[in-house]
Symmetry: D2
Subunit: 396 residues, 4 copies
Amino acid sequence: MARIAVLGTGLIGMFYTMALHAKRGRDRVSVVYGRDPERTRAFAEKWGIETWSTDLAGAIRDPRADVVVVGLPNDLHREAVLLAAAAGKAVLCTKPLARSAAEAREMLEAVEKAGVFHGYLEDLVYTPKTLKAVAAVRRGAIGKVLWTRSREAHPGPHSDWFWNEERSGGGALVDMGCHCIEIGRAFVGKDLRPLEVMCWGATQVHPIEAEDHAIGLVAYEGGAVAQFEAAWTFRGGMDLRDEVSGTEGSIWLNHWLRTGFEMFTSAGAGGYVAEKAEAEAGWLFPVGDEAAALGYEEMFRDMLDALEAGRPPTETFYDGYVVNAIMDAAYRSIDSRAWEPVRIDDWRGAAAAGAAAGATVLDDRYLLIKRERMPDGRVKLILKDRKTGEVVQRLE
Amino acid sequence: MARIAVLGTGLIGMFYTMALHAKRGRDRVSVVYGRDPERTRAFAEKWGIETWSTDLAGAIRDPRADVVVVGLPNDLHREAVLLAAAAGKAVLCTKPLARSAAEAREMLEAVEKAGVFHGYLEDLVYTPKTLKAVAAVRRGAIGKVLWTRSREAHPGPHSDWFWNEERSGGGALVDMGCHCIEIGRAFVGKDLRPLEVMCWGATQVHPIEAEDHAIGLVAYEGGAVAQFEAAWTFRGGMDLRDEVSGTEGSIWLNHWLRTGFEMFTSAGAGGYVAEKAEAEAGWLFPVGDEAAALGYEEMFRDMLDALEAGRPPTETFYDGYVVNAIMDAAYRSIDSRAWEPVRIDDWRGAAAAGAAAGATVLDDRYLLIKRERMPDGRVKLILKDRKTGEVVQRLE
Amino acid sequence: MARIAVLGTGLIGMFYTMALHAKRGRDRVSVVYGRDPERTRAFAEKWGIETWSTDLAGAIRDPRADVVVVGLPNDLHREAVLLAAAAGKAVLCTKPLARSAAEAREMLEAVEKAGVFHGYLEDLVYTPKTLKAVAAVRRGAIGKVLWTRSREAHPGPHSDWFWNEERSGGGALVDMGCHCIEIGRAFVGKDLRPLEVMCWGATQVHPIEAEDHAIGLVAYEGGAVAQFEAAWTFRGGMDLRDEVSGTEGSIWLNHWLRTGFEMFTSAGAGGYVAEKAEAEAGWLFPVGDEAAALGYEEMFRDMLDALEAGRPPTETFYDGYVVNAIMDAAYRSIDSRAWEPVRIDDWRGAAAAGAAAGATVLDDRYLLIKRERMPDGRVKLILKDRKTGEVVQRLE
Amino acid sequence: MARIAVLGTGLIGMFYTMALHAKRGRDRVSVVYGRDPERTRAFAEKWGIETWSTDLAGAIRDPRADVVVVGLPNDLHREAVLLAAAAGKAVLCTKPLARSAAEAREMLEAVEKAGVFHGYLEDLVYTPKTLKAVAAVRRGAIGKVLWTRSREAHPGPHSDWFWNEERSGGGALVDMGCHCIEIGRAFVGKDLRPLEVMCWGATQVHPIEAEDHAIGLVAYEGGAVAQFEAAWTFRGGMDLRDEVSGTEGSIWLNHWLRTGFEMFTSAGAGGYVAEKAEAEAGWLFPVGDEAAALGYEEMFRDMLDALEAGRPPTETFYDGYVVNAIMDAAYRSIDSRAWEPVRIDDWRGAAAAGAAAGATVLDDRYLLIKRERMPDGRVKLILKDRKTGEVVQRLE
C-alpha cells in the first residue's frame, strides 16, 4: 500500500486522485496540497483525503505520505521535485517534466543525487492499447519501425496557466507534443538516439503568444522518423491517435473519438459526455472508462509496483529529460526553419543503431524491389539488376 | 479487503482471478477449488493463492475465505451455491445462473433463506461502455427505449462441457444469449416485465445436439423489444455488439472487433492477439485491456463494494433467475414455433409500465407524423388529420 | 441509347431521372408523367425532358419512349404496369412491386403474357458494395451462407402516401423490409426456396395504423436464415447495413452512416448533408455519391444492358413477386404470432437445396467440434466421439 | 460524345479506358497507343477499341479521336503533350504533369499557345467524397481552413519505370505526393499562394535511388499548412486518407481501407480484393466501386463536360504546373534540410490572402481564449486581458 501526497487540485490532481483511489485499490492519497485553502479543503473532503495543506514544503515533508505526486503547473515542477528529493521522498512528476531540458536535467540530477525513486507521469504511453501495441512491436509483429505518427488535438486546455507561455514553457507543443514525442520514442525504441528535429509551429487561432499548433518530425538513429502533431485548434472533441508503420506491418490506435461507443441524441446527453467533447446533442462519441483510456491506471500501477519492487518504472525522469531535449530542438527548429540537432549531454541508450533492413536477394542477378498481385490476378515482380542497377518487371 | 474462494480453474476461473488480483487491488483469492489436483495446485502457485483443494465443500467452508466465487460448469452451480448458502458465505455465481428457471429459483430461495449476500456475475452488463450507455439512457439521452439488439457471436466456446447439452443446459442460447438478454433488460429497464419471447434456434455447423445459433425477441411491458443474437457459428473473431434505439436517439457499442486498435502484420502477431481471434497475420483487431472490456473489473468492484456497504449489487441472483425464465421461454418458442409467455412466479419489478410516448399535437387539426429536411433543402411535414385520419404533407 | 418515360415526379422519380441522366450517360428520359400539371411541367424543365403529361395512359403509350419506369405510389403500380404491358413496352417498376403477392402475380402474368421486358427496381441489391459482396459469396469466400442481417432504419419516409396503409399496402415492412428481404435472398442464393417467416411488427412511435417497426426471420431451404429489420423509428439518420455469416467467413456492409466520410461542424453544414440526415451541426456523416451508394446507377446499367442484350436483368418481376410473397407471410406471422409458410405457387428456383456442411472427421474415433488458440498460446481441440457421442477436449 | 485516343496500355491506361467506357457512357476510346504491338492489339480487342498503333505521333493525329489522353510513364508526358498541341487536339494528361516545374511549364505554354483544351488528370481531387467535402468547405462548414493532411501510402507501384528515378522524376513524392499536394490545395483554396515547403524524404526499404517515403508541409498565404505523406513503405494495403481542420470544424475522409466494406474469410477471397490489397484471407477491406472511389468517373465527367461547354475543367495544366513547382521545392528542401520557397513565375491566384480569423472580443476588458464544459459540468472561460495580456479563467 502506498501513501501519497498529491500536489495540485486542478483537473490533473483530480484525475490522479480518482485513478489512485479507483476500483478497490490499496493505495491512498493521504495528503493534498493546493494554493487556495477553500478549494483544497473541499478537494480533501470530496476524495476522503486525511490532510490538506497550502504549504508546499510542509505537504511534501508530511510523514503521512511516502510518495509525492506533482500535479502542479509546469513552472512549479522544479521546486516541488527539489523539495521532494531533499525530503528523501519518492517523487512522480506530471508531464512535461520541465519547461526546458536544462530545467529537466537539474531535476533529474537532484533525484539521482538524493537517490530517491522517480517516475515521469507520461500517461499516454500507458494506455492499455499503447502498452499492447508497443509489446507487439517489440515482439517483431510489424518488423523494423519506419515511421510513427502521434497526434493530440483539441480546442485548447482547461486552465489559464497553460495559455501563459512563461508558466507553461510554450504552447501546444510543450503541452501535448510531449505526449506525442514520448509515444513515438516508445514505438521506435528508447535505445535509439533521437538525432534531429524539424518542426513547424504557429499561432493560428487563439489570441496568445505561444504556438497553438505544432507539427514536427524526429529523426532517430537507425532511420526511423517519429511525427508529432499537437493542436489547440482542432474542432470536434479530442483527437488522440497513433499510427506506426513497420517493414512488416502497421498499427492504428484511436484512443478517444472512435473507440466503439457511438451515440446519437436529439434530447441532449443530459450531462458530461467525454473530456473535451464539443457537443451535447447529435452524434457523440463517449469513452467507456476515461481514466483507463488515458493510461492513468496502468501508469500508477507501474509506478507503485516498481517502487515496491525496487526497480525503475518504465518512464523515469530521464525519459522526461529526453522529451524536453527533443522539444527544445523543436522550438529551435521553429525559429531556425531548419532541422536542429537534439542535444542530450548524457545519452544512456545504445551506442549504435541496429543495421538497416537489408534488401531481399532474389537470385544471383536480381534484388527484389516488390511483389504484388495485380487486379487481373497475375503476380508481378519488380526487380533490380544487382550489377547494372536496371529496374525490370516480370510476371511470376 | 475481501478474501475469496474461487471455485473452478478453467478460463473463467483464471479471468476472475486475474481481475480480482489486478492493478494493485486490495482483494485476494485465498482459496481455489478444482477437480484435478495437479492443475489446481499449479493454478494456486501461478496466481499466488494460499490454499487449494479438490474438495468442493471443504473449499467453500474454508475459513480463509469470506466470499465464494462460483466459476464452475453450469451443472455444478446449484450444488456450489447451496453449499455456500449453508456455510453462510457471500456467494457470487457466474453466468448463466442455472440451466433452467426452476433450478435458478431453488438457488435464489436458498441464498435468500440463508440471508447471504448473492451476486450474479453477468460481466457484460458491467463493461465501462455499457455502464456509461445505460446511465445515459436512464438520464433520458435517447428518450423512451424502443428496441435493443445485443449480439455475441464467435466460433464456439473453449471447454468440452459447453458442448454437452446436459451439463450446460443448452447451446449458444444458454451460453451467450444469457448475456444478450440481460444487456437488453439493462437498457429497457429492469422494472419493466418481460412478457413474451419468440426465438429461432438451429444446429447449423457443429456436430452437436444443442443449438449453435439462436436469435430471438423479448417483448417487454411498455412496448420495447429486445433482440438477442447468440452464435457459435461466427467466423472472424468475437463479435460483441449492442445497439439501442429510442424515441430521441440511438446507441451503438462495439466491445471487441472495432475498438480503435487495428493492426496489420505480415510477420504474425508473435503471440496471443485477443480472445477468440481467428488469425495471427493480416489485419488483426486486438483489444486494449480485455478484462476491463469484458466488464470483469467493474463487476467485481460493484460486487465487493456492495458487500461491504451492505447493499445488493446491480446484478443479483434474482436477475439471473429472470434471465433463466426468459431463456426457458425462448427454448419453448424454438419448439412451439410461436411466441411464448415468460413465466416469472415472483415478479419484483414495477406493477405497470409507464405510458407510451404520446403523439405530437401540431394544432387543433393535425397530429405531426414527421418533420424532415428534403434533399432540396425544404422542410416537409407529414400530418394526420385528428378527426378524419387523413394523411397529408405540407411544406414548412 | 434508351428513351425512357418516367412515371412519378416525387423523390423517387427525381432520383431515377438523376441516375439515368448522370455522368455522360447515353440514356435519356424523354417523357414524364405526374398528376399535378404545374409540378410535372417544372420537373420536365428542370431535368431537360422533352414531353410531360398528366395522362398516365398517354404517357405510357407515347412513342417518344421505349421503356416505362414506374416511380409511382404503391397503389398505382398495378395500373401502370398493366398499361405498359398492353402497350408492349419494356417496364421497370420500383419497389415494392405490389402491395401483395396476389397483386404482384397479376402484374407478373401481364408482362409475361405480353412478352415485354420487365425489371424490378430493387436498387439496394445493386449497390457497388452489395454486388461485390454477393460475387465474393458466390465465389465461396465465406463458405456456405448461414445467416444474413439486412437493416434499413430511419425516422420515416418523405411523402404522405407512405403513411396511408391502403395506398402503400403496409408500413415500414412493406416500404423497407422489401429491400432487406431481397438483399437476404441475394446473399443466401435465389435458387433456394424461402420456406417460412417469423415476424414481429408494432406501431411504436407514429400516430398511424400500420407498423412503424418490423423485425423478422426468413427460413430458407438448406438451413440459412435471413433477418430483416425495418424501422421508421430510428434516430440518427439512415441506418443501412448488411451482415452475412458463412461457414468460412463474414461480411459487414455499411452503406450510409459510416462510409469513411466524417465531418464535425459548429457552423452548420450550410445545406443538404445526406438523405435522412437528422442534424446540420456537430458530427455529420455525409455519403460521397448518394445515387451510386443506393445502387441506382448499377441498377439502371443492368436493366438497360439486359434490355439491349435480350437477357433478363438480375432483378425481374418474378423477384418482386417472391418478395411480396415473403412479406405476405410476414404480415400473417405478425397476426398469428407464429411461423408462417411462404406461399409461392410458381416456384422457379432449384428443386432441392444442396447438402448441409458436413462435420469434420478428425480420425477413426472423433469428429472435430472446434479448434482454438487459447490466451496462453496453447491450441485446444473439442472432439466428439463418433460412437458414444461423448464430448472431450485435447491439447494439440 | 467524345472520341478518345488513350496513350498507354498499362494499369492507368486500363483504368482510364474502363472509366470512360463504364456505365452506359456515351464516350468511346477509339484509338489506343502502346509500345508493344502484341499487348496493344490485345488491349484494343479487350476493350472494343477501333484502332491501335505503336506509333505515338500517328495515334495522336488519328482523325478517329478528338481528345488525347496521356497515360504514359512520366518521361513521355512532354513529348505526347507537345505532339497533341501541335495536332490541335484537346489533351488530358495523367499525374504528375511532369518531372519538374520547368518541364510542366513548357507543356503548359505549348497547350496555351496552341489554344487547345487541357486537363490535368488528378483523379483523387475528384472522388465523390473529396468533391462533396471541398464543396462543404467552400460553403463555410468548417470555417477558415487551418491544416490539411493528405496521405497516400502502399507498398509501392506496379510498373518498373516508377522505380527508375530518371524516368519517373523521383520516388514516392513525385508519384503520390502530387496527389496529396493538390488535395491540400483544393481544401486550402487554389486562390491562395503556396509560399514555402519543408520536406523530409528517405529511402527506407527498397533498394532504389529515389525516396520511398516523404513527408512534408506546404505553407500557404493566409496561414494554412497542408501536410502530405507519401510512402511506398506502408504495409496493409493502400492507405488513402485526408483530414482537414478549420476554425469551425473538421473533416476526415477514408477512401480505401475503411469505407464500410469489411470481410473475413478463412477460405480466401477467391480472386482480386482491391487495388494493392496485401492479403487474400483474414480480414479484408474491399472497395465497392474502385474507379468511382478513385475519382476517375467524376474526373472524366468534368473534363468532357468542360470540353463540350467550352470552359476550363477544375484541374488544368496550370494546376499540374503548380503541383510540380511545390514538388521541386520539396526536393530542394530534402537536400537543404530547411524550408524552401515555392517558385511560381506566373502566379494566377489571388494577389493577397484573406484576413486571419479575428479574436473573439468578450467585453471591454477581455478577449475570449476558450470556452469549455468541464467533467463536473461547469462551463469555464479562459480570458485574456486586452490591456495587460494577463490570462485568467472564470466559471460561467
